[in-house]
C-alpha cells in the first residue's frame, strides 16, 4: 500500500523514529509513568523531486510526472497528436479531396511516386497519399469510440457485479463467458453480416459487443479488491450509502487497470477495423479505410506496391503509437513497476 509514496531522500519513518528509541520500553512496562508527548514533525513529508510544484501528489499527478519523462510516452504522444490532427483536418495535409470522384483519373492508374502523387496512384487512378491521409479519420473514430463504449459498458457492469456480488455477479459473469466463447473475428463477421451497410458505427458496434467482457472482468476484479479494503469499511462505519462507497471509494481505486487496458486496446481496435474492412464487412467503398485500401491493392501488388504499402505502414504506425501509449500509461499507473 505504501509503495505509491514518491521516493525521496528523507524517509519520514526512519528520520523521526530514531530519537524516540529511548521510549521503546515505556509501553512494555506495566504502570509506566505517563509518556512524554512528542508530536511528530509536521514537515516530515517526503522531499519532492525538483521541478514539482508543492501541490497534492495523487496517483494521477505522480503518473503524469512520471509520464512526462518517458521517451516512449513522448514519442507516442507526438505520433498520436499528428494522427489526431490528420483525422480532424485532413485538408491541412493534402489539397486533393479523395471523396471527390473528379480527382481520380482512370488513365493515371497505378502510377509511380511523383511530385504530383507522392504515394503514387491506385487502380482507379486516385491519389494514394490523399486517401491515406483521409483514411486516418475512420480508423481513429472506430478506435476511440469502441474504447469509450467498452470502457463505459464493461466498466459500469463490472462495478455493479463486483460491488453487488451474489446473483447479480453470477448472472453478469456467466453472460461474459458466453461472449468469451465466441471467436472474435467470426463473431464480428456474423454481427456485421446482419447489416446491409458497413460504416464506422457498425464496426464499432461489432467490436464493442465482443470486447466489453474483457473490461468487465478487469473492472470486476479491481472492484472486489478495493471493496475489501479497510477504508471501505471505515466509510460504512461512518454511515456512507452504497452510491458514495461505489463512486467515491471503490471507483477511483479500481479505474486505473481499466484505463491501461483501454489504451492498449485502442490500437487493437484500429487493427481489427482494418481487418474487417479488408474482409469486406467493415467500412465499404466509397468510404475510405486503410484496410479497404489494402484489400483493393492486393491483387496488383506486384505491378504497384505503393497503394498497399503506404496505408499498411500508416496502419502499423497508428497501432504501434497507441500500444506504446498504453504501455507507458501502464508503467506510470502501476506503482510496483517504479
Amino acid at each position: 500500500m505504501s509503495d505509491i509514496r514518491p521516493v525521496g531522500p528523507a524517509h519520514p519513518e526512519t528520520e523521526q523514529d530514531a530519537p524516540a528509541d529511548a521510549q521503546v520500553t515505556a509501553v512494555g512496562v506495566p504502570e509506566a509513568p505517563p509518556l512524554q508527548e512528542r508530536p511528530e514533525q509536521p514537515d516530515a513529508v517526503p522531499v519532492k523531486p525538483k521541478g514539482r510544484r508543492d501541490k497534492p501528489a495523487s496517483l494521477w499527478s505522480d503518473a503524469w510526472y512520471d509520464l512526462r519523462r518517458r521517451p516512449l510516452f513522448l514519442g507516442a504522444s507526438v505520433l498520436i497528436a499528428v494522427l489526431l490532427v490528420m483525422a480532424i483536418f485532413p485538408q491541412l495535409f493534402t489539397s486533393i479531396d479523395p471523396y471527390d470522384a473528379k480527382t481520380c483519373v482512370l488513365a493515371n492508374a497505378r502510377q509511380d511516386i511523383s511530385a504530383a502523387h507522392w504515394f503514387g496512384t491506385d487502380n482507379q487512378g486516385c491519389d494514394v497519399y490523399a486517401r491515406t491521409i483521409y483514411g486516418a479519420r475512420n480508423s481513429i473514430v472506430v478506435g476511440v469510440s469502441t474504447t469509450v463504449v467498452t470502457a463505459l459498458v464493461g466498466g459500469l457492469l463490472g462495478l455493479i457485479a463486483g460491488f453487488r456480488s451474489g446473483a447479480t455477479d453470477t448472472l453478469l459473469s456467466r453472460t461474459t463467458e458466453i461472449f468469451f466463447a465466441i471467436p472474435p473475428i467470426l463473431g464480428a463477421l456474423l454481427i456485421l453480416a446482419m447489416f446491409r451497410t458497413g460504416n464506422v458505427w457498425t464496426v464499432m458496434l461489432a467490436l464493442a459487443v465482443l470486447a466489453w467482457p474483457m473490461t468487465f472482468r478487469i473492472m470486476r476484479a479491481a472492484v472486489i479488491t478495493a471493496k475489501n479494503q479497510d477504508y471501505v469499511m471505515a466509510a460504512r462505519a461512518l454511515g456512507a450509502g452504497p452510491w458514495r462507497i461505489m463512486f467515491r471509494h471503490i471507483l477511483p481505486n479500481s479505474i486505473a487497470p481499466v484505463i491501461v487496458v483501454a489504451t492498449i486496446n485502442l490500437g487493437s481496435f484500429i487493427a481489427a477495423e482494418a481487418a474487417l474492412s479488408f474482409l469486406g464487412v467493415g467500412i465499404r467503398s466509397p468510404d475510405i479505410s486503410w484496410g479497404l485500401m489494402i484489400a483493393e491493392a492486393r491483387d496488383r501488388f506486384l505491378e504497384a506496391w505503393e497503394p498497399l504499402l503506404f496505408p499498411a505502414f500508416m496502419l502499423s504506425l497508428t497501432v504501434l503509437a497507441f500500444i506504446m501509449l498504453g504501455d507507458a500509461v501502464r508503467d506510470a499507473l502501476d506503482p510496483k513497476l517504479r
Binding site: P12, V29, E31, P46, S58, G239, R248, N253
Partner: protein, 338 residues
C-alpha cells in the same frame, strides 16, 4: 480519565455465527463458525474496556458487531438504551454518530485517492447536520490540530504521511462526529513501538478532553494494561474473565488468563527467572466445533469431569473479586509469584 457509572453501551448475549455452506448451486449449511458466542458486558461513559485474547478468538468480529458492520445472529447492542443491532436505515445512520472506529492498519484504512481534508471531512458530508457547509474546512483543520497534525496539510494525500501520522488521521476521522464511544481495533499493533506510545498518549488525552469511552482491542497485554480501566479476556468467542485492570493483572482467576499473563515478556533478567511460566499444550480448538462445557478444558491443567458437562458462567466466584468463567477459579498472581 474518570469513568462514571452511567452505562452508555450495553451488550447482551451477543452471538455471531458465520454459516459454513457446501454445494455450488444448492447451498446447504453444514455448520457454523461460532466467532462470537454469547458475549455480555457494559461500558460506562469515559471508561476504557480492554479486550484481549489470542488470534481467532473473535475480538475483531466483536468490534464489527459493535459497529453494526456485521449483523448479530442473536443478542443486542444497546447504545443509550437503543438497540443498534436491530436499527435500520436512517435510525442506524443516526446511531453511528455515537460509535466510531479506529482501525488497525493505517496504511489501508485511509483512501489513497482522497486528500486528508476529504477523508476527515467525509463524516460531515455523510451527516450534513453535524457541521454546516461553510464551517467544514475549519472543522477539519481543528480536528487535525486536536490530533497533533499540521492543519496546513489538509490538501495532502495519505501516502505523504508516516504510519503514526496516518493513524492520527484515522483518529481525527473517528472524532469528527463527536462520538461517545470509539472502538479501537488493534490501533497500535501496526506501528513502531515508539510511535505506539505517542498514539496511546494521544488516545488518553482525547479521552480526557472529550469524555470518550473506548473499547480497546489488542493482543499486547502491556498496552492494554496501560490504557484500560477494565479488561475482558476472550477465548474462542466467549469472555472468560472480566474485571478491573489490577484485578486481571495481579489476581487473575481463570487458568487461561494466568497462562496468557505468564507469557508477557518481563523486561528484567533477574525477575524473569523467578516468575512462573505456564505453557499451554495444543492449539485452540476450531470455533466451528468448540468443546462441550468449558471451551478451555481441552488445554486446561485443572480440567475435571464437570468441565465437559457443565458450561461455567461468567460470574464472581468464591475467593475472587471479579467475574470469571471457570469452575475452579482461584486468584493467582502469575507475574509476581516467586
Amino acid at each position: 480519565m474518570a469513568p462514571t457509572d452511567e452505562v452508555i453501551l450495553e451488550v447482551r448475549d451477543l452471538v455471531k455465527h458465520f454459516p459454513l455452506t457446501q454445494g455450488i448451486l444448492f447451498k446447504r449449511q453444514i455448520g457454523a463458525i461460532k466467532a462470537v458466542d454469547g458475549v455480555s458486558f457494559d461500558l460506562h461513559r469515559g471508561e476504557t474496556l480492554g479486550v484481549v485474547g489470542e488470534s481467532g478468538c473473535g475480538k475483531s468480529t466483536l468490534a464489527k458487531l459493535l459497529m453494526a458492520l456485521e449483523r448479530p445472529t442473536s443478542g443486542s447492542v444497546k447504545i443509550n438504551g437503543r438497540d443498534m443491532a436491530r436499527a435500520r436505515g436512517g435510525e442506524l445512520k443516526r446511531m453511528r454518530r455515537n460509535v466510531q472506529m479506529v482501525m488497525q492498519d493505517p496504511y489501508t484504512s485511509l483512501n489513497p485517492r482522497m486528500t486528508v481534508g476529504d477523508i476527515i471531512g467525509e463524516p460531515f458530508e455523510i451527516h450534513p447536520d453535524v457541521a454546516p457547509k461553510g464551517s467544514r474546512a475549519r472543522k477539519v483543520q481543528e480536528l487535525l490540530e486536536v490530533v497533533g497534525l499540521n492543519p496546513d496539510h489538509i490538501n495532502r494525500y495519505p501516502h505523504q504521511f508516516s504510519g503514526g501520522q496516518r493513524q492520527r488521521i484515522g483518529i481525527a476521522r473517528g472524532l469528527a462526529l463527536q462520538p461517545e464511544i470509539i472502538i479501537c481495533d488493534e490501533p497500535v499493533s501496526a506501528l513502531d513501538v515508539s510511535i505506539q506510545a505517542q498514539v496511546i498518549n494521544l488516545l488518553e488525552r482525547l479521552q480526557d478532553e472529550f469524555n470518550l469511552a473506548y473499547i480497546f482491542i489488542a493482543h499486547d497485554l502491556s498496552v492494554v494494561r496501560h490504557i484500560s480501566d477494565r479488561v475482558a479476556v476472550m477465548y474462542l468467542g466467549k469472555i472468560v474473565e472480566l474485571g478491573k485492570d489490577t484485578e486481571i493483572y495481579d489476581r487473575p482467576a481463570h487458568p487461561y488468563t494466568q497462562a496468557l499473563l505468564s507469557a508477557v515478556p518481563v523486561p528484567d533478567p533477574e525477575g524473569r527467572q523467578n516468575r512462573e511460566r505456564i505453557i499451554l499444550q495444543g492449539d485452540p480448538p476450531s470455533p466451528a466445533n468448540p468443546p462441550s462445557g468449558c471451551r478451555f478444558r481441552t488445554r486446561c491443567w485443572k480440567a475435571q469431569d464437570i468441565c465437559a458437562t457443565e458450561e461455567p458462567l461468567l460470574q464472581i466466584r468464591p475467593g475472587t473479586s471479579h467475574e470469571s468463567a471457570c469452575h475452579f477459579a482461584e486468584s493467582h498472581d502469575v507475574v509476581h509469584s516467586a
